[in-house]
Each structure stands twice: as C-alpha cells, then as structure tokens.
C-alpha cells in the first residue's frame, strides 16, 4: 500500500435519496456534518417527514444511497439496514412513548434492546432524566406527564442510545405555545452537547431560525434552497422562503438597470444582473404615501390596500396594484396616513433598496 496513509471516513451524513411515495416524488441530496443542527423546512407535503423516515429506514429507498460516517446504511437495491440496526435516534411529533412503561423504562428501552443489563440501563436512563430535570417523574406513566415533559422524555429516550444520527420530526409541533418556547430552549441546550448529525424537521420558521445552524428548504420533493438563516434571509430563492423570512420576492429578467417582471411590469434597480434573476425588497423599504411622493424614488405606483396585519408596533400592509407588494410601517404611520382596507395609496421603492441576484 502506498504510504499516504488511510484517510478517515467522511464524518456526517451523506445521502442521496430518490423515492416515490404516493403522489410525492422525493429527489434530494444532502450532506450534513456532525455537530451542526440542520433544519429541514418546507410546506406540508414537501417530503420532509418522508425524507426522515427514509433516513431512519422506515421507508425503503427507490434510488440512491445513505452513508453515515462512511458506513453504508442503505444502497438502493443492494443493501438495506433495518431501523434497529442503524445508529439512529428519533423523536416524533407525538412523543410516542410506550404507554405501558414508566418514563424511566421508556428511556431505558433502547439500551435494553441493545443488550445492556436492566440495572445498568435504568441507571443511565435515570441520568438522562436528571439531565432533563425530570428526576421526580421517573416512575410516571406517559399519560401522567404533561406534553412538554413527555417530549423531554422522548428526547432522553432517543439520546440514551447514543445515536450518531438524531432525527427530530416536528418535535415541538404538538405542544401548546407556552410549553413550546420553554422546551425549545431546553432542546437547544441539550443538543449543544450532542456530537452526532442532527436533522430537525419543522414547518415553523421561528423554530428553525432559533435552533438551526443551517436550513434546507424542501418544496415538492426537491431542495430549493440551503444555507444559514442569514443567507436565506438575504437571498431567498422561492416564494415559500420569502414568506418564511417575510420579504417581497420577484422573479424576472434583468435588462440593463431594470428587472422585467412577468406581468409586463418593471422594477428599476441600482445594479441589475443580466438574465434570470430574483429581485428582493424588504417591506421596510416600501414607503406608502397619500399623494404622489416627492423626491427621486424610481419605483412608484398606486394601489389599493388589501389587508393590514398588526405585528406588535408594526403593521404589514398588503397593497394590490400593478406590482403587488407588502409594506411594513409603524402603527403611527397607519393612522397618519389614515390607512384602511380599500384605501388608495401611493407606493414608492428606491432603486437601491432592491436586491438583485441570479436565480
């Protein structure tokens, strides 16, 4: 053998997944390094849960491969490790704790299934429950636990087996609003010390932003965008992501210093990129006026107020016009401008406020 030394197996998850389940055709490739929390985002039916189930081994691959830390978990048509032989841990939306076992025995379940003695398994389970702050609930049955407590036990149960791949399928979705915030904090704290690959599915953008280091957006079975929350915020690449981040997104052809929009309209921009481009405008950069605005904004048009959404001390105003757009103004401005549904307003957007990037 040549003396260059054997390279260490690539750590993390390396998966290319192609599968058809019902009407959904999933075709996704992802590489997730360990120690990084990756959130899978997307509208309902996008395939997030399906992807997780395939990675867990609960659904078979149509085509593709799944490697974890260099080990083949599945190679379509040739190798398929069943879930019990994969070094995984999974947390489900409805905790799915075993109703006939106590919290302690639930957490110990995975260890005992893997051959650990009853006493040792229960000891380690007790440790985990202590870490979750649930030592006093060891003997409780799942139906005696609150939603938040149950989900924490479920997390402990998944982590107790020391998985190398942790899959979380909308773990906070079934909790009520107040528990959600608290459990989210605890989840973040616990995952801090987890050294394997972590994949979290959620449809709550706030949750994704708060927990994840990186986001992968799935729509209709395909990855439409991946990146850090900041990247996604700065350059959304789909309506869904734009809505997630809360910005206006247009798609068109860059021509000179304009972006030609499909309906025949144009946006004047500071620096156009040629070809197929996205044009992003933050709602705060959209100004509303009672009359034709003075000054030099290059993008000006009239429209009717379609809706007003109050969010704290700011208001999101949706304006219907030749270019439908959302503006964010202060509550004070709303009363100054005497804005109401159906009111006619003037919209202005500075050319420099339009961010243009290739599609």
């Amino acid at each position: 053998m040549a003396g260059s030394g054997v390279s260490a197996p690539a750590a993390g998850l390396d998966a290319s997944v192609e599968v058809t389940v019902g009407a959904l055709h999933l075709d996704v490739s992802l590489e997730v390094p360990p120690n990084e929390i990756v959130a899978l985002l997307g509208p309902n039916g996008a395939g997030k849960t399906t992807l997780l189930r395939v990675l867990a081994g609960l659904e078979p691959l149509g085509r593709g491969r799944v490697l974890l830390d260099g080990d083949v978990l599945e190679d379509a048509g040739r190798v398929r490790l069943p879930p019990e032989r994969r070094p995984i841990g999974m947390v489900f939306q409805e905790h799915l704790l075993f109703p006939h076992l106590s919290a302690l025995d639930n957490v110990a379940f995975g260890l005992r299934s893997r051959g650990v003695s009853r006493a040792a398994a229960r000891d380690r389970a007790a440790d985990w429950l202590a870490r979750m702050g649930l030592s006093d609930r060891c003997a409780a049955r799942p139906h005696q636990l609150s939603g938040g407590q149950a989900q924490r036990v479920a997390l402990a149960r998944a982590l107790a087996v020391e998985p190398r791949l942790l899959l979380l399928d909308e773990p906070l979705a079934a909790l009520d609003a107040s528990s959600r915030v608290e459990i989210r904090r605890q989840l973040a704290a616990t995952l801090e010390s987890f050294t394997g690959v972590q994949l979290l599915v959620t449809h709550e953008p706030l949750e994704a932003m708060a927990l994840a280091d990186r986001l992968i957006v799935l729509e209709e079975g395909r990855v439409v965008q991946a990146g850090s929350p900041a990247e996604l915020g700065a350059r959304p690449r789909s309506r869904y992501v734009a809505d997630l981040v809360g910005v206006n997104l247009f798609r068109g052809r860059g021509v000179g210093n304009q972006v030609a929009l499909p309906e025949g309209e144009c946006l004047v921009v500071a620096e156009a990129a040629p070809g197929d481009v996205f044009a992003m405008v933050h709602p705060r950069a959209v100004s509303l006026h009672r009359q034709v605005p003075e000054g030099t904004p290059r993008n000006v048009w009239t429209g009717d107020v379609e809706s007003l959404d109050v969010e704290g001390d700011r208001v999101r105003v949706r304006v219907r016009g030749r270019i439908p757009i959302v503006s964010e103004v202060t509550a004070a401005a709303v009363s100054d401008l005497d804005l109401g549904v159906g009111r006619r307003v003037w919209v202005s957007v500075k050319a420099s406020s339009v961010s243009v990037y290739p599609a």
Partner: protein, 249 residues
Amino acid sequence: MAALAALFFVAPLVGLVWRAPWSSLGRELASREVRDALSLSLLTSTVATAASAVFGIPLAWVLSRSEFPGRRLLRALTILPMVLPPVVGGVALLLAFGRNGLLGQWLDRAFGITVPFTTAAVVIAETFVAMPFFVLTVEAGFRSVDQRLEEAASTLGAVRWTVFRRVTLPLVRPSLAAGAVVCWARALGEFGATITFAGNFPGRTQTTPLKVYLLLESRPEAAIVLSLVLLAASLAVLLGLRDRWLGAV
C-alpha cells in the same frame, strides 16, 4: 331494557340455586365420578385455552397484519367452528382424526395412535370450538395497536421479536385476557363436539357438561349440584380476573 336483560341472565341462575338440594350437597359432591368430571373439565379447558393461545396468537397476528391472497379465506376458516353446530364440528373432527379419517389413518399406521375416545380428543374438540373466540378477540387487539409505537421501538434498536414481545404484546394484554376468558368458558361448556369426537367415559372423557346431562336422567338433584359447582368455578374465575386486566392499560 337493561334490567330485563339482567333478569334474563339472573333468573336461570337463581333457579339453580333455589332448587339445589343443599342438605345432600356434601354427599353428592364427594362422589368419585363428580370429582373426576370436575377435575377433567378444569384440566381440559385450561389446556385447550393454552393451546388456543399458542396457535391463536400467531394466527391472530398474521390475520391482522399481513396482506396475502387467501387471507379472507383463512379468516373465514378460522371463524367457521363458531358458526358450525358443535356436533357437526365433532363429526368433522372424526372425519379428520378418526380411525378412518384423513389424518387419523396416517397417525394410526405410522405411530399406532388413535385419537377418538381419549382425553386428548376432548382437548382437541374443545380447542376446535373455542379457539375462534380467542383469535377474533386478539386479532381485534392487534389491529388497534398504534403501529407507530412499533416503529419507534425499532428506531431504538429493538429487533422484530423484541418489538413484539416488549411493545405489541403488552399493549394487547387486555385483549389476550378477554380472549382467554371467553375461550376458556366456551371450552368448559362444550358438549356436542366432545360427545361426538371423544365419547363419554368417566375419568377419561366425561367432562362436567356430559356428567350433568347424564345425571339429569338418573339423579336430577345431583345434576343441579354439579351445575352449581361449575357455576361457582366459572364465577370465581371471572371475578378473579380484575377489571384492569380486561380494561385499559
């Protein structure tokens, strides 16, 4: 309406108690044949229930989870003994295991084993009529298990047998208990298939229902006494089986 239903069940039982010859109770009970009939019945019905469980649990599992051609036929065959008049069941058993029966012939030639007229025949007859009750109950139980719990168990590293043993079975325990009770009760009361397939011989194949039937001809008071004993034994089992085993987890 419910009161009428209750009365319907209670009245015959009260009748039994009322007509019982309490004074000669002890003497009747002490007779060898009565004791033989009782112990034989308890033995055979318990063995029949055990056999029903051993064969019935896998069958119920397959019926509840697998999709295969002929599944509906299999389920119909499983329920068949329930709708068959027991004597017809007994005749069918003879045609299968009798001296000239399909399997009986082979058993006789190859091993010299004849089944009819033996205690084993009693167990077979009782199992034949009672197992469908067990299977139906447990099948329904398996169907009601949340399979996602089984998936969760496998993600935790449990192989299929462990999932079955530590998750599925405990979750169907109420159905197992209920099924066993119904099965045992049916086996205990079986008459037609037993008399046809196993015959009647004290100590060997004379179960309590057979003994009661014959006593009715000669010594009706003894028949009442024996019926009461069977009633008491059944009540004891039913009351002993607590609600929580039959009800929620």
